[in-house]
Amino acid sequence: MIAASAGNVVVWIVWVVAAFTCLGSAVAVVSFSNPFYSALALIGNLGSLAVLYLLLSAEFVAAAQVLVYAGAVVVMFLFVIAYVGPRRETPWSGGPGWQTIGAVAAAGALMVEIIVAIGMQASGSLSHETEVGTAFGTPAWIGRVFLVDHLLAFEITSVVLLIAAVGGVILGSHTKRATT
């Protein structure tokens, strides 16, 4: 696919840019010593993912990504970070030595194994590409799928969110704290 037809060079360029942004920001999230920057980096990561979603013709998800994540979640993060104040901490430090080594080994192993698996499949079940219609990924289509095929999932999601909200309230409630 390096010998890509001229038609999708653009797509390729976009993809590469997005991919590298994604990875770069991810690395940044993990490696910034200041959680505040990490959170900002996450925004970049999410944005680049949104772009990739667009390439995958999942407009609605891309939109949701930007709104829900970049919009809500990260902002929540930023608030909390601001609340607890900046706590700098250097990565790769602390804990027993074998912890770090093990960490790299385990994470790396997982990654490599999955990539290997993908490599094995690249020629297999993944090779045949299905051309998708224009309706694919549009909000309307999503809505239909949501309400017809996966109604239950939809409902569950709401319950989960509710529970989380309750939990947040319980844990975050300032009222009547014990004298510590």
Partner: protein, 645 residues
């Protein structure tokens, strides 16, 4: 059921009843009551024995010497009664049986008769002991066991009686249980007898394995190979020598003198120790089938009668001297039954019961009168104060030495003669031993006599002698002694083999003497002369040494020491058996049980716990470690799947 059956059961159960009565009575009945219960029960037993005797007698046809049969059949002149099946498994079964035949009736009479006299004697002897009741319970129980032994209608019942007499002997030897020496002696006696029981049991196992039965009626030899028979005989012999204190299992008897004197008289002279003789006579077919073993028995007897005689020479304890003489006399009996002259052996058993009991009881009188002193060196001249005792003892002594017309003469000489009758080299060896034994008997017996009875009473005696209301002892003690003195004198006249032999004929149906062991008259006379001369020689020598001091006691330190150490048997057995056993036990306990067996469990446990604390260390409490494990686990599973797919 005929008279003899009733008689036999009455004879057996009366003493048992006595025991139980005394036990149940406990401390609620007065001491004398216990004593008289025991005595009566034994005399009742004697009555039963007499009843049985006449029962058998009525059936007893004239004297026929049965041809040598190689099997024990239920005798024509007696019968077996079964109370119930005592032990049964598969098609092996043993009944609680009694056998009444000439042999057993003789034994019953001896046991219950002499026993009765001795129990009567005990009344006086034990008077004042604080545990009298226990004593009489024990002694009645002994009589029961002994009767079970002689009446037992099959080998297992015989063994039961055999073991029970061992038990009661243990109880009586250790009667004064706060004396460590007594307890030790009792244990020794029991364990040695248990050894005999074990060998007998093994012999029985062979019989069971081959014939699946232990009845006298079975023709064992038909089923047994020569070797098997030899082993059976050997096993039985082991029991016999243990019980009868013959070499090599003789060492317990002298120590057994720790018991009260009547006990020594009853158990270790008159009855129990002669059980070995009875056993061989009872199972003679097996022995005759294993002739070698039978001759070994005779050899053991011959050896014992010499060794015991020699040891007796240096003993200083009055009872021990008599004890060794007992061993030696039983040696004679073994020679008798060993060569095959069962009647002679049993006859000597009979007379010996009388005169040996007599000797012990007179000794008992002395001991009782002189503050329980048993050392003959202190007792010099006691005869002056106790004439009756003195003369009775003399009777016993003469009977023992075998001076005519006392009973020993009639019973001892035929044994030696039958040894000669064999005509073989070993026959003659037995003969020589017999004669030599007679000489020793004379020597040690009259050594005892001259040391104790004649002459001026020693100051010790004068000081400690106290009579019993002007008599030498309670009448309960004197009467039996008198009776036995009479018996010891005349019992022998019952038969004089060259001329008349009703006793042999009486026994013939039960234990017909081996034809080869029936001496010719010449042999008889010749032997008698030899034995009597030997006996007199010993007597004279003793007179010369201990009375007249004509001859100094030969100073042979080595021999003296050898005799005093009883030929080192005890020493040897300690080294060979007891100490190794103790050492092994201690070693196992120290080196194996504690470090290995008991420690293995805890060790494993601790190892496990150590592993536990290792695993525990993984639990660092660090969140990241936990995640790491999760991730690593996932990675490994994925890898495994990718490989194994």
């Amino acid at each position: 059921m005929t008279g003899l059956t009733y008689g036999s059961w009455l004879c057996l159960l009366a003493p048992l009843a006595g025991t139980i009565l005394i036990l149940l009575g406990g401390s609620r009945i007065p001491r004398l009551a216990a004593a008289w219960i025991a005595t009566t029960s034994v005399f009742v037993a004697f009555g039963g024995a007499v009843w049985a005797f006449f029962g058998v007698h009525s059936q007893h046809q004239g004297p026929e010497l049965l041809p040598l049969t190689s099997q024990v059949t239920v005798p024509a002149h007696g019968e077996i009664t079964t109370a119930w099946t005592w032990l049964q498994s598969g098609n092996f079964h043993v009944g609680l049986q009694l056998l009444v035949d000439p042999l057993s009736t003789v034994m019953m009479l001896i046991v219950s008769g002499v026993g009765g006299l001795i129990v009567l004697y005990s009344i006086g002897y034990m008077d004042g002991d604080e545990e009298e009741r226990r004593y009489f319970a024990y002694i009645a129980f002994f009589v029961f066991s002994m009767l079970l032994l002689v009446e037992g209608g099959n080998l297992l019942m015989l063994l039961v009686g055999w073991g029970l007499v061992g038990l009661s002997s243990y109880l009586l030897i250790g009667f004064w249980h706060d004396r460590p020496s007594a307890v030790r002696a009792a244990k020794k006696a029991f364990v040695m007898n248990a050894f005999g029981d074990a060998t007998m049991a093994l012999a029985f196992f062979i019989l069971i394995a081959h014939t699946n039965s232990l009845d006298f009626g079975v023709n064992f030899n038909a089923h047994l190979s020569g070797t098997a028979t030899n082993f059976v005989a050997l096993g039985l012999l082991g029991g016999a020598v243990a019980k009868s204190a013959q070499i090599p299992l003789q060492t317990w008897l002298p120590d057994a003198m720790e018991g009260p004197t009547p006990v020594s008289a009853l158990i270790h002279a008159a009855t129990m120790v002669t059980a070995g003789v009875y056993l061989i006579a009872r199972t003679y077919p097996l022995f005759e089938h294993a002739r070698t073993i039978q001759l070994i028995a005779a050899g053991a007897g011959a050896l014992t009668l010499l060794v015991a005689g020699l040891i007796a020479l240096v003993q200083t304890d009055i009872k021990r001297v008599i004890a060794y003489s007992t061993m030696s006399q039983i040696g004679y009996m073994f020679v008798g039954v060993g060569v095959g002259a069962y009647a002679n052996g049993v006859f000597h058993l009979l007379t010996h019961a009388f005169f040996k009991a007599l000797l012990f009881m007179t000794a008992g009188l002395v001991i009782h009168a002189v503050a329980n002193e048993q050392d003959i060196r202190k007792l010099r001249g006691v005869g002056r104060l106790m004439p009756f005792t003195k003369w009775c003892f003399l009777v016993g002594a003469l009977a023992l030495v075998g001076i005519p017309p006392f009973s020993g003469f009639f019973s001892k000489d035929p044994i030696v003669a039958s040894a000669a009758a064999l005509g073989t080299w070993y026959g003659w060896i037995f003969w020589v031993c017999g004669v030599a034994g007679a000489f020793l008997t004379g020597l040690y017996t009259f050594r005892l006599w001259y040391l104790v009875f004649p002459g001026e009473p020693s100051p010790f005696v004068r000081e400690h002698y106290h009579d019993h209301h002007g008599r030498e002892g309670a009448w309960t003690m004197l009467v039996p002694v008198g009776i036995l003195a009479v018996l010891a004198t005349f019992a022998g006249w019952l038969q004089w083999t060259p001329r008349w032999d009703p006793f042999t004929r009486w026994l013939a149906p039960a234990a017909p003497s081996l034809a080869a062991a029936v001496p010719t008259d010449t042999q008889e006379y010749f032997t008698s002369v030899a034995v009597v001369i030997a006996g007199l020689a010993g007597l004279v020598l003793a007179w010369a040494i201990y009375s007249e001091r004509r001859i100094a006691i030969p100073a042979a330190p080595f021999w003296r020491r050898l005799f005093e150490e009883k030929f080192y048997f005890d020493w040897l057995y300690d080294r060979i058996f007891y100490e190794p056993a103790v050492a092994t036990a201690a070693f196992l306990r120290r080196e194996f049980e504690e470090p290995v067996v008991l420690q293995t469990g805890p060790d494993v446990g601790n190892t496990t716990l150590a592993t536990g604390s290792l695993v525990r260390r993984l639990q660092t409490g660090l969140l990241r470690t936990y995640v790491l494990f999760l991730a690593a686990g996932a990675a490994i599973v994925v890898l495994a799947f990718l490989i194994a797919r």
